[in-house]
C-alpha cells in the first residue's frame, strides 16, 4: 500500500512543480511555501534555488540594534544596485523566517520600509535579487522582555 501512495504523490508533485515554476517572482515564493519554511536555508533554497548568495555592502538595511518592542520593529531595505527585481526580509529565529518579499517593478526604486515582528533576538537578513544574482547583508536585532520587571 505504501509504495503506490508515494508514487501517486510523486506524479502529483511533478505536475505541481511544473505549474508553480511559471509564476513570476514572489508569487513563486508564495506558491512554493517559502512563507511556511521554518529555517532560513530552506527559505533561501525555495526563493533563489542554488544561486550563490553574495554578501554585499551596497545594501542599506536599517533595523534597530535593540527593538523597542518585538511586535513592531521598523525595517528598511534600500540599495543602489541596478536592476533590482526582488527584495526579501528574513528573520532567522522567527518560527517562519521569511517575513516579506517585494517584487520591484522597473519604475520602482529599490527602497522599501515596513514594520515586522521579531520573536526573539536574531540575525536578520536582507536579500536583493538583481540580474540573476542574489546579494545579502545581515544585521543583529536584540529583543528584550518588555517592562521594568517587579
Amino acid at each position: 500500500m505504501k509504495t503506490n501512495f508515494s508514487r501517486r504523490w510523486f506524479v502529483k508533485g511533478l505536475a505541481a512543480v511544473a505549474v508553480i515554476a511559471s509564476f513570476p517572482g514572489a508569487a513563486f515564493a508564495r506558491a512554493t511555501g517559502a512563507f511556511k519554511a521554518d529555517k532560513t536555508d530552506s527559505v533561501v533554497n525555495v526563493l533563489f534555488g542554488d544561486l550563490p548568495i553574495e554578501a554585499s555592502s551596497q545594501i542599506t538595511f536599517r533595523l534597530p540594534d535593540i527593538a523597542e518592542n518585538g511586535a513592531v520593529v521598523p525595517a528598511t531595505v534600500a540599495t543602489e544596485i541596478e536592476g533590482v527585481t526582488q527584495i526579501a526580509i528574513v528573520i532567522d529565529e522567527n518560527p517562519n523566517p521569511l517575513s516579506a518579499v517585494f517584487d520591484i517593478g522597473e519604475s520602482s526604486v529599490a527602497d522599501v520600509s515596513t514594520r515586522i515582528k521579531v520573536g526573539k533576538s536574531s540575525v536578520a537578513r536582507a536579500y536583493v535579487k538583481s540580474r540573476g544574482r542574489v546579494f545579502m547583508t545581515t544585521r543583529e536585532v536584540k529583543v528584550t522582555i518588555g517592562g521594568c520587571g517587579g
Binding site: 535593540i66 513592531v72 521598523p74 528584550t144 518588555g146 517592562g147
Partner: protein, 271 residues
C-alpha cells in the same frame, strides 16, 4: 510702607517653607532636571524617555512617521462629530476640541479635579446621553482626537486656593513610597530618570502628561494616562486604582502643573 514690607517678608518666608505653592514646586523640579540633564532643554522632556535615549528615539521617530494611532484620531473625529439625541454635540461643549491645554481644572461646585475624560461625560450627561466607560474604547478615541486638535497649544491650568488640597494630595501621592517594592514615582522618574530598568529608559517627571492618550506598542491600542498609572502601581506591587478615581485625578492635576507652560504633543506612540 512698613506694613507692606512686613507682610511681604511673611509671604516670602511662607513660600520658602513647606507651603504648597505649585509654581515654586514646578520651578524647583525644572531646576532639578536642568542640573540632572544640562544638555536637555526642559521642554524636550515632552518626548519622555525618547528625549534621554538617542537609540530608542530613532525607532520612535520611525513609528511617528506614520503612527498607528492615526486611525484612532480618525475614528475619534467621527465620534466627536456625531450629534446627541437632543441634537447638540461635543462641539457645543468643546468647540473644535482644542481645549486640552486647560485640563484638568478644579471645579469649585464639585470641589474636585475635572479631567478631560470627566468633562466628556459631563457634556454627554448634560444632553441626556449615557456616560462612557472610562476604560472603554470610545472615550480613548474621543480624547485622542481632542489631544490631536490641541497639539502645540501650551499647558495653562490653574490651581486656585480651593484646589490646593487636591494638588497637594497628588504631590504627596507622587513622592510617597508604595507597594511591596516600596518605590515612589519620584524614585524612578526623578532620581533614576535617564537610567535603565532592564531595557527601559526611565523618563523624567516633567513632560509626563503632555502626550496622552498614548498608543503603546505593548497594548497594540491607544490608552489613557490612568491606565499607565494603574500599570505602574501594579509594577511596584501596589494595588492599582480605578481610572478617573479621585487619587488618579489629583495625581494628574499635580503632574500637569509640573508641565505647565509646555506644548501638548499628543496623542503619541510609545513602546
Amino acid at each position: 510702607m512698613i506694613r507692606g514690607t512686613v507682610c511681604l517678608v511673611a509671604l516670602l518666608a511662607g513660600a520658602g517653607s513647606a507651603s504648597a505653592d505649585p509654581e515654586s514646586d514646578r520651578q524647583a523640579l525644572a531646576r532639578y532636571f536642568e542640573q540632572r540633564f544640562p544638555d536637555v532643554e526642559v521642554a524636550a522632556h515632552i518626548d519622555g524617555a525618547y528625549a534621554l535615549n538617542a537609540q530608542t528615539r530613532e525607532q520612535w521617530l520611525a513609528m511617528e512617521d506614520f503612527p498607528p494611532y492615526e486611525f484612532s484620531v480618525d475614528d475619534g473625529e467621527v465620534l466627536f462629530g456625531a450629534s446627541f439625541k437632543d441634537g447638540s454635540g461635543y462641539q457645543d461643549c468643546f468647540g473644535d476640541g482644542n481645549v486640552k491645554a486647560h485640563f484638568p481644572y478644579f471645579d469649585l461646585k464639585e470641589q474636585s479635579v475635572v479631567t478631560l475624560e470627566l468633562a466628556i461625560n459631563d457634556c454627554r450627561v448634560a444632553s441626556g446621553e449615557e456616560p462612557l466607560a472610562y476604560d472603554g474604547e470610545d472615550i480613548a478615541l474621543l480624547s485622542a482626537y481632542m489631544a490631536f486638535t490641541s497639539r502645540d497649544s501650551v499647558i495653562d491650568i490653574e490651581v486656585p486656593p480651593e484646589g490646593l488640597a487636591a494638588y497637594e494630595e497628588g504631590k504627596q501621592y507622587y513622592y510617597s513610597r508604595r507597594g511591596q517594592l516600596n518605590f515612589s514615582c519620584s524614585h524612578c522618574h526623578m532620581q533614576m530618570s535617564g537610567m535603565k530598568l532592564r531595557a527601559e529608559t526611565l523618563s523624567a517627571t516633567i513632560g509626563h502628561v503632555t502626550h496622552w492618550p498614548v498608543y503603546r506598542l505593548k497594548w497594540q491600542e491607544i490608552g489613557p494616562l490612568h491606565r499607565r498609572f494603574k500599570e505602574c502601581n501594579e509594577q511596584v506591587g501596589a494595588e492599582g486604582l480605578e481610572y478617573q478615581s479621585e487619587t488618579y485625578r489629583n495625581l494628574e492635576y499635580f503632574l500637569t502643573y509640573m508641565s505647565q507652560g509646555l506644548p501638548l504633543n499628543g496623542p503619541a506612540s510609545r513602546k
